[in-house]
């Protein structure tokens, strides 16, 4: 009874994860701008990856509780992979948006761009150069 309930939860997680990953692909194709494409391609894949990895973790937990010790390997390794995705994906998106703005790509249809006239600090500057 309980294992069938866990199966239903696994199917729901799989459906949600695939839905958000396909939304990421559609958003990459349809959005008009680098920044909106970055929004679609990073947030949706991170959110979908949480659900897909969560379904694998639930599968391993079910195997582990029902007596197969190999299930613990699935849980721990997939948990580490999920932590790696959650750490690296937003950081890379932030670096990409910053690089896109500094390389001169303007947002399409933006009303205000607050970073436009701000003096940008170079990464190679020393502390003495600011004084």
């Amino acid at each position: 009874m309980l294992s069938q309930l866990v199966d239903v939860i696994i199917y729901i997680f799989l459906a949600l994860g695939v839905f958000f990953n396909i939304l990421a692909g559609i958003g990459l194709l349809r959005f008009p701008d680098v920044y909106t494409r970055l929004h679609a391609g990073t947030k949706c894949t991170t959110f979908g990856s949480i659900f897909l990895c969560g379904s694998v973790i639930l599968y391993g937990l079910k195997m582990w509780i029902l007596g197969n010790v190999d299930g613990s390997m699935w849980v721990i390794h997939t948990g580490i992979a999920l932590v790696a995705i959650l750490l690296t994906n937003p950081t890379g998106a932030h670096a990409l948006a910053r690089a896109a703005h500094k390389s001169g790509v303007k947002p399409v249809g933006a009303v205000i761009d607050e970073l436009e006239n701000k003096p940008t600090k170079k990464s190679g500057d020393k502390m003495e150069a600011k004084k």
């Binding site: 294992s3 199917y11 799989l14 994860g17 695939v18 990953n21 396909i22 990421a24 692909g25 559609i26 990459l28 194709l29 680098v34 494409r37 970055l38 391609g41 990073t42 894949t45 991170t46 979908g48 990856s49 897909l52 990895c53 694998v56 599968y59 079910k62 195997m63 029902l66 197969n68 390997m73 699935w74 390794h77 997939t78 580490i80 992979a81 790696a84 995705i85 690296t88 994906n89 950081t91 890379g92 998106a93 670096a95 990409l96 910053r98 690089a99 896109a100 500094k102 390389s103 790509v105 170079k122 990464s123 190679g124």
Partner: protein, 91 residues
């Protein structure tokens, strides 16, 4: 209930994930500027990591998930270096 059978539903999930990868590849090919292409590559990297995890469960071996962890960190480093190159910084 048989808990040791290979879940076939995960192979269907893999096919749907490849559909998303194909849409990102179209964006990489026809992207107008260089940051568009890099955004497409970043999306492809994340979906490939998840596909490795799913395929590891479908094939029944844990080594794919270890490869996925290493691939996550390597793709993160490559994305940071490409962003640094686009920004015009010094290495």
């Amino acid at each position: 209930m048989n808990f040791f059978s290979i879940p076939d539903i995960y192979l269907v999930i893999l096919g749907l994930l490849f559909l998303s990868i194909i849409m990102a590849i179209i964006r990489v090919i026809k992207g107008p500027t260089a940051p568009d292409r890099i955004v497409g590559l970043d999306t492809i990297n994340t979906i490939v990591i998840v596909s490795m995890i799913i395929f590891g469960l479908a094939a029944g071996s844990v080594i794919y998930i270890d490869v996925a962890i290493v691939y996550a960190f390597l793709s993160f480093i490559s994305t940071l270096f490409i962003a640094k190159y686009l920004e015009g910084g010094e290495f």
